[in-house]
């Protein structure tokens, strides 16, 4: 399980380093001495507290990437230097995240990858900026993460504005292709930053595209009971439901929809739906059938993505976007180290900013960074088809054809 991957603990690596140094002092294995010092990488995630699941998934993805890079001979431009993960826990709190950045900086990390949540990312990027320490934001979708002019902050994945934009574009195309079966929409969103931002953007944009938003319902985290929200959905009879919430609430919501046998033409999430969770598909195959999600996802046509999926599942974990994005963030860092040939902050920041790296396993356009944001980044739209998750949009990455509107009756 996960424990195996996180065996590369800080103390263990330090101990190994000390042992190596001792051997070196005695002078026999000359090769060992020629081995360049490992490059430390801060792997910072909320592995305890409310976000511990996502944090643990994220950490796993980063560690898989580091293991692969080291197995393939390390950073060749730096004499084959190995990457060494220095693990840190933000405990699901921004202030702890910021304190961990200081600790990582003093441990001598070349860069930080993390910290999953937007609120934590705002604190950690700022703390890292004071040291000009390169910080790759793995997820942290809130726009302000990259709009504060920090020159050390890089986000390879898309921000919330881009995701919502793509989500609406995709919905419009899918709907048009099916002969416009959907006109009315109901938004169900969670109350924190991502749900609120998403709902606001949808309310601005959907009417311009000819959709009518019947009602927008905000709910708390956690919400114990979705029965009433479902009652309201039944009363308003929307063509389409757009939920934006965390996994727990998504499960309770779709379960309540199914219990009340709600008939809609589609369930189309933006960020965080069942069509981007193999766990949901496996545990609730009936509720999951035909649901769609616009979210971070991998490019199903790339062999690397499937190999990573395989590896993650062999480690006993579900393959989630947290794993993919962190794997990718480390690979992006490794490429910058290769090109910049330096672990100095300025050189690494410059190499990260000028990256055109395209070996990633994501459904993105050409890599180009503007103010720390990869402008090629975009989400994918996925749908649960035949108990599997297929990419249905953008078409150039598609692995399945959209089934829309969803067949009735369900469940």
């Amino acid at each position: 399980m996960l424990k195996k991957t996180s065996m590369i603990s800080r103390r263990r690596v330090l101990a190994a380093g000390a042992a190596g140094a001792a051997v070196g002092a005695f002078g026999f294995p000359a090769i060992l001495r020629a081995q360049p010092a490992a490059i430390k990488v801060g792997v910072l995630h909320p592995v305890t507290g409310a976000l511990s699941y996502s944090g643990t998934q994220s950490r796993a993805g980063a560690l898989i990437a580091i293991e692969e890079i080291n197995a393939a001979g390390g950073i060749k431009a730096l004499g084959g230097a190995k990457l060494e993960a220095v693990l840190a826990d933000a405990q699901s709190r921004p202030d702890v995240g910021a304190a961990e950045v200081e600790k990582l900086n003093e441990a001598g990390v070349a860069a930080i990858v993390g910290p999953y949540a937007s609120a934590i990312a705002l604190a950690t990027t700022q703390a890292a900026a004071r040291h000009n320490l390169p910080h790759i934001v793995d997820v942290g979708t809130v726009d302000q993460v990259v709009t504060r002019g920090l020159t050390n902050t890089f986000r390879f994945s898309p921000g919330v504005s881009k995701i919502v934009q793509s989500g609406i574009d995709g919905l419009e195309r899918i709907n048009n292709a099916a002969g416009k079966p959907v006109r009315t929409v109901m938004l169900i969103h969670e109350e924190s930053a991502f749900g609120t931002n998403t709902a606001k953007a949808l309310n601005d944009e959907l009417p311009k595209r000819g959709f009518e938003v019947l009602e927008t319902i905000k709910h708390a985290n956690p919400t114990r009971d979705f029965a009433n929200i479902v009652l309201r959905v039944q009363a308003r009879k929307p063509d389409l439901i757009v939920p934006s919430n965390y996994y727990n609430e998504y499960v309770l919501f779709t379960r309540a929809l199914r219990q009340q046998r709600v008939q809609v033409k589609g369930i189309y999430s933006i960020l965080g739906g069942g069509a981007s969770s193999y766990k949901f598909v496996k545990e609730f195959p009936d509720a999951a059938a035909y649901v769609m999600d616009c979210n971070h996802w991998f490019d199903p046509r790339k062999a690397g993505a499937l190999a990573l999926k395989d590896k993650t599942e062999k480690a006993g974990l579900f393959f989630t976007y947290e794993v993919v994005l962190n794997y990718n963030a480390i690979m992006y860092l490794a490429d910058a180290l290769e090109r910049g040939r330096s672990i100095a902050h300025d050189a690494l920041n410059a190499a990260l900013a000028s990256s055109t790296w395209d070996k990633h396993v994501l459904p993105y356009g050409p890599t180009k960074f503007v103010n720390g944001q990869n402008t090629g980044a975009q989400p994918a739209i996925t749908q649960v088809l035949d108990k599997d998750i297929k990419v249905i949009y953008p078409l150039e990455f598609a692995s399945g054809n959209a089934v829309f509107p969803m067949p009735t009756p369900r469940g």
């Binding site: 409310a50 699941y53 319902i217 009971d225 009652l231 309201r232 039944q234 727990n248 199914r258």
Partner: protein, 291 residues
């Protein structure tokens, strides 16, 4: 805007959810009423019960309702040992220390769960999870009706226990007058541990009844614990009938408030009621003397 036809089903939803709140609150009101302590570990114990029911179902194929037979005694034992061996001893009987100790215990329990079970959210799909029962104009999921019935039954059992048994009389004596009870030969530490054990056993029952309609994760306790406190205060500390009615009132208020004024207001309403009750009738509807 609002269709009056959905008010009735919403009220029924509120009642059934309120029964769940009452289930969680029954154990708390006993602990609160007897030991006069605010038990920060209550939510974590609910989480322990939920994991127990989950693993019994997943590994042993034991239905959550059947697992009651195992969970209730197991959690009673856990509660007894916790109070007798840890909370009672470490706190030296002072209220502020009880607070710290239960807080420490909850941190330990939650992170043990995180360590052993990871932060993963787990759910079961019981065969009857989608069985619906038509009541008037509402379609109610079967597990909620079961929980509703069980809340009534458990409240009645607890009431019988307190009113008709020697143990109940001893608990009441200790709750009223610790020193006096000690003087007449009651083993106060044992009674404390029994009360904590029974309270925890109630949480075990609540967990088994809750699992088919909810999920479990290391932090799931937080979802219910504040509401449970509200219910306890509303009903009056130590009153089982109060906890039952309090749960139902809170459930319906949350449901109708949320429906009419928006989901956020439903959450707000719980705490506004809480504050109003504390200010105007701090002993709750069925509580005894003020402290």
């Amino acid at each position: 805007m609002l269709d009056p036809v959905i008010l009735l089903p919403a009220a029924i939803n509120g009642l059934t959810m309120g029964a769940v709140y009452a289930l969680v609150a029954l154990g708390l009101t006993l602990i609160y009423g007897v030991l006069h302590i605010i038990n920060f570990a209550h939510g974590s114990l609910l989480m322990v019960g939920l994991y127990g029911a989950f693993f019994l179902y997943q590994a042993g194929g034991i239905d959550p309702y059947l697992s009651l037979v195992l969970l209730v005694p197991a959690l009673f034992g856990l509660g007894y040992i916790l109070q007798w061996g840890v909370i009672g001893r470490a706190s030296h009987g002072s209220d502020q220390n009880v607070l710290l100790v239960t807080l420490g215990v909850s941190i330990v329990i939650e992170n043990l769960a995180l360590y052993f079970f990871t932060g993963d959210t787990r759910t079961i799909e019981a065969p009857y999870a989608f069985e619906m029962v038509d009541i008037a104009v509402a379609r109610v999921p079967l597990p909620r009706l079961v929980a509703f019935g069980a809340a009534l039954a458990i409240a009645a059992l607890l009431w019988l226990l307190m009113a008709k048994t020697d143990l109940g009389r001893a608990i009441r004596a200790v709750a009223k007058e610790r020193q006096g009870a000690r003087l007449v030969g009651i083993d106060v530490d044992h009674i404390f541990a029994m009360s904590f054990g029974i309270g925890t056993a109630c949480v075990g029952a609540a967990a088994a009844l809750l699992l088919p309609m909810f999920y479990v994760s290391p932090h799931v306790g937080h979802v219910f614990v504040l509401v449970a406190f509200t219910v306890v205060v509303l009903g009056g500390m130590g009153s089982f009938i109060g906890a039952l009615l309090g749960g139902l009132i809170i459930g319906v208020t949350e449901s109708l408030g949320g429906l009419i004024f928006g989901e956020t207001f439903g959450q707000l309403a719980i705490f506004l009621i809480f504050i109003a009750i504390l200010l105007f009738r701090p002993t709750g509807f069925f509580g005894g003397r003020p402290s």
